[in-house]
Amino acid sequence: MFRQMLFVHWKGVRFGLIPFILTAFGLPLLAVQGVTAGPGSPEASTIQAARLLGQMQQWLPLFPLLATVTGVTLALSSWAWDHRANHVYALTLPVARWEYVGMKMAAGALLLLLPVAAFWIGGLLATSALEIPEGLRAYPTAVAFRFLLSALTLYALLFSLAAGTLRTAMWILGGFVSLAVLGGVLPEFLAESFFPALEGWSFLDWFVDAILEWPGPFEVLTGSWMLVDV
């Protein structure tokens, strides 16, 4: 059954996934394009290092962005057929719900390995084609691993959101927006009236810190994405 689900997911997402695979392959190559080694003098190596680090800084935001968009696309596409048929077919299958969800989630995660592999190969090619200046090191595998974890995290989050109805998703999003708005106003009101300890506390700051710092789910997005670094 897992093979069938994998095939169905692949069939549904393949045309959407191919651009991501190509981008994942090409992005590391683009990030180092044009940074050629000089005539071999020490200053040429330093100048190349400066250009390489400067260029990496410019391309850097696109790596986590690509991982996010890839994960989200796969997650949204994984429930597309179920939504279209109102989940009737899935409910007629002789499997437990958790088993069905597990298989569906695993199928999407397996498909996610395609862009990740493309990113890894692109990174390896990009860094092997470079003459790495002294003092710098290439991290194609580490960055590809970060890409995998980031894409999988976003995939899992959107997978759980997409499993519900549109109304549920709207409730969750609306609830979050309400919390964000109230979180900005309520602590201030409470600090002035009942709980002085809340002075200066912001829900949004707390929330962002909680999700971006370990053990938050998106901590992996905030690490170093430098393909070449000191």
């Binding site: 200053e43 719900r97 003092g135 899992a156 002085p196 002075e199 200066g200």
Partner: protein, 378 residues
């Protein structure tokens, strides 16, 4: 008689007119004795001065009382307390936040300040996290520094602001050349050291390259403290100078443009030197890197380092740093270079611990998907 009177008729007004015209000239005798009149007037005026001063004093006092009464009516009560070595004033409801912010600042700056807390004794820090600035006016206290930000700024901004303000206080009174050289603030954060490591690898300067390779003489040059002083030709090779001139962009003046083109396009080294001759040489490592060296000197110097730095204010910059650190220059630069290279970030950092939390989050999200409304309704 009547005739006389008749003749006198028109004469009386004429006499009166003449008298009236002559009245202004009654000063003629005074002009003959000007000193005495002026002296009289001056004495009379001088006698009024104490009266005028007394009146002005009364008016000032009345105005001051009015202002004070107005301030007392709008003034908010404040708390004064200590957080670490800092004397802090804040609104009572902001005291906990202020304590936390200044405690965090103390933890960050402690390696630099330890043993020199007396430098902070005279200072008071006014903490204000506000929607509106009204009500936090403290007058007459000249040793007051403000950590004051609108409430839209998060707590991290308050901590940065407090660190900046306290850093400024600590560096107050330091020689101007040290402030100019270090940007006015010592740095110790490892996050900044990671950037210095990138500079050490990628700054196009033979001095920096030599420092990266471990030559401490070059390290002294790279931070601009070499014995020969500022020197374009010593710090940069001709190729690096050319790169520097290129980065400055083509000038607008015709004569300079020709020299610029000879330097950049025709690669004539002499033209590059000529182009830069009238410009102050740029120290190869940035002010951030230099501030990290100052921070490192204070940090390694331990208790009293800041006091020793102040004590050596008349010495050359390198001697000031060695006095603060208590180390010879070579040892100071070697340990700074090592700490910079150790601060290099690895792309694997955080990835080793991430998988565990990552797996938990995946399972959590998967469990949420199983609990979807669709299924429960179905």
């Amino acid at each position: 008689m009547s005739s006389l009177i008749g003749c006198a008729g028109p004469a009386v007004p004429l006499l009166l007119l003449s008298f009236g015209l002559l009245v202004p000239f009654r000063g003629i005798p005074a002009q003959e004795e000007p000193d005495s009149t002026l002296t009289t007037i001056r004495v009379e005026l001088d006698s009024l001065i104490p009266l005028m001063r007394a009146g002005k004093k009364e008016a000032d006092r009345a105005e001051w009382l009015m202002r004070k009464r107005a301030m007392d009516e709008t003034q908010l009560p404040v708390d004064t307390f200590f957080a670490g070595p800092f004397r802090v004033i804040s609104l009572p409801e902001q005291r906990i936040l202020a304590e936390e912010v200044f405690t965090a600042t103390w933890e960050e700056l402690r390696p630099l300040v330890d043993g020199s807390e007396e430098l902070l004794e005279a200072w008071t820090f006014l903490f204000h996290h506000y929607w509106s600035r009204d009500g936090m006016v403290l007058e007459g206290d000249t040793l007051l520094r403000r950590v004051s930000l609108p409430k839209r700024y998060p707590r991290s901004s308050l901590e940065r602001s407090a660190t900046q303000v306290v850093g400024n206080v600590l560096m107050r009174g330091m020689p101007q050349d040290l402030l100019d050289w270090s940007g006015g603030q010592p740095r110790v954060e490892s996050r900044r050291l990671a950037w210095v490591a990138r500079e050490l690898v990628s700054t196009p300067s033979q001095a920096v390259r030599g420092c990266f390779h471990g030559d401490l003489d070059w390290c002294v040059e790279a931070v601009g403290l070499g014995p020969e002083g500022a020197n374009w030709e010593r710090w940069y090779t001709p190729a690096e100078l050319r790169l520097y001139v290129r980065s400055m962009g083509s000038p607008l003046l015709d004569q300079l443009e020709v020299i610029w083109e000879q330097c950049v396009l025709a690669e004539a080294d002499e033209a590059c030197f000529e182009y830069l001759r009238d410009r102050d040489p740029v120290i190869p490592l940035s002010v951030e890197a230099r501030a990290s060296l100052l921070g490192h000197a204070l940090w390694t110097g331990g208790p009293g380092a800041l006091g020793r730095l102040r004590g050596a204010a008349r010495e050359p910059l390198l001697d000031q740093l060695t006095a603060a650190s208590g180390m010879p220059p070579d040892s100071l630069l070697a340990s700074w270079r090592t700490s910079v290279l150790e601060a290099r970030t690895s792309a694997w950092a955080g990835l080793v611990r991430s998988p565990l939390s990552f797996l938990l989050w995946i399972v959590f999200f998967g469990a949420l998907a199983v609990r979807s409304t669709r299924w429960r309704l179905g």
